[in-house]
């Protein structure tokens, strides 16, 4: 998450002080991503250094400075909003690795391992969903941020379900079948190796 650009976005609404930016940042993310005030001042210093924000109070202490966005800052914000983040590299997902490893070990029940993770993720989703329960109090930014987390966790469950189904099918294949090793680690490693 780019604090730098989020602060630029808030400054694009008008000049603001650091403490104000922190408060508004937390409000706009529904307080799902807390921000410490030190991060705000460091980021503002860098924005100023790079010519993206400026302040008339040159001599003043960080906390006393009122910042505004510059024309270059506006351009940078517009560019950032329209640039898709790089999703091309698959993240090194610990959960995926655990299931892959479990699927290779003879004395480990991979389905048991999958269920432990499935239960944990569903419990986590229950916690996030509880935060949306009171609709009257539900802030839009907060709901969007919570949804993002729920969809991310849901994709984990879907992958676990799919891995479960695929592994079950693989265990039903007759011994010696060429598909027998289709879930094994080496083939995955080969693919990631080729990618890099």
């Amino acid at each position: 998450m780019s604090i730098r650009h989020s602060l630029l976005a808030l400054l694009s609404e008008g000049p603001k002080y650091g403490f104000q930016l922190r408060q508004e940042f937390e409000q706009s993310t529904g307080e799902v991503w807390p921000l410490n005030v030190g991060q705000v001042y460091t980021t503002l210093q860098r924005l100023e250094r790079d010519g993206l924000a400026e302040s008339d109070d040159v001599e003043a202490d960080e906390r006393q400075k009122n910042y505004r966005i510059t024309a270059i800052g506006d351009e940078e914000l517009a560019r950032w909003l329209r640039t898709p983040p790089d999703l091309s590299e698959p993240p090194r997902d610990e959960l995926v690795i655990k299931v892959l490893v479990a699927s290779r070990l003879m004395d480990v029940d991979v389905f048991d391992v999958i269920q432990i993770h499935r239960r944990y993720v569903v419990q986590l989703m229950q916690q996030w969903t509880r935060l949306k329960e009171d609709e009257a109090q539900l802030d839009l930014a907060f709901a969007l941020a919570v949804d993002a987390e729920l969809f991310r966790l849901d994709s984990v469950i879907r992958w676990l379900d799919s891995a479960d189904g695929r592994l079950r099918r693989a265990t039903l294949e007759p011994i010696g079948s060429p598909k027998q090793n289709s879930v094994a680690l080496p083939s995955i490693r080969r693919r990631t190796g080729a990618h890099r």
Binding site: E31, V32, P34, Q115, R118, R119, V121, V122, Q123, L124, M125, Q126, Q127, W128, T129, R130, L131, K132, E133, E135, L150, F151, L153, D154, I157, R158, D161, D164, G165
Partner: protein, 242 residues
Amino acid sequence: MSILELHKVSKVYGQGDNEVDAITDIELVVERGSLVAIMGPSGSGKSTLLTIAGSLEEPTSGDVIIDGARLNGMSRNDKARLRRRSVGYVFQDFNLLPGLTAAENVSLPLELDGVAMKKARAKGIGALDGLGLADRADSYPDQLSGGERQRVAIARAVVGERSLLLADEPSGALDSVNGESVMRMILNACHGGVAAVVVTHDAKLASWADRVVFLRDGKAVDETLAPPSPEELLNPNVANPQ
């Protein structure tokens, strides 16, 4: 107080070589006011469990108790009466009767149970009103959107003094925002004292439940523990003091 109890409930379809165990030794107790979700892959026995819990189907063995009444040995008529009075169903495809208006669809179970038409209709409109659909009371199902049809189906399931709400993939083909409203309505019914069981393969829907039971090959293999307070997600330091 428990509204639904299943004890050692099993269901076997077919005979001899064709015998299939749909569900085996299911233990499930659902308290008044609680929402339980049943998750599992296709063919894991979720729908069988729900139809048996709603007395639409007989178990091969085991006990089903609804609202304190044991279903074993109960006559067909008594079961039908119990179903009409205590149990509401929400199906994936809504199952509204196309020739009846929204209000008529909702009040039908009450009328079948002998409630006078006028009174039943008033209760039906009240249930629709509770789900924000009072102005659609005279519309026919084909004049309603998917989300509205599902709300009518939920109104029909909770109208009267129903104590048990059973839902099979209740969000059907609705998008996720409408799916969420469906779960919110079911949860509201639970806050009003209804016990609900929702069968779904969608973790986003299941996560509205107080408890999630995982079904696999007809057996309840696992269930969620009471999750920690949601506030811990926003204040990680509370949960993790380092």
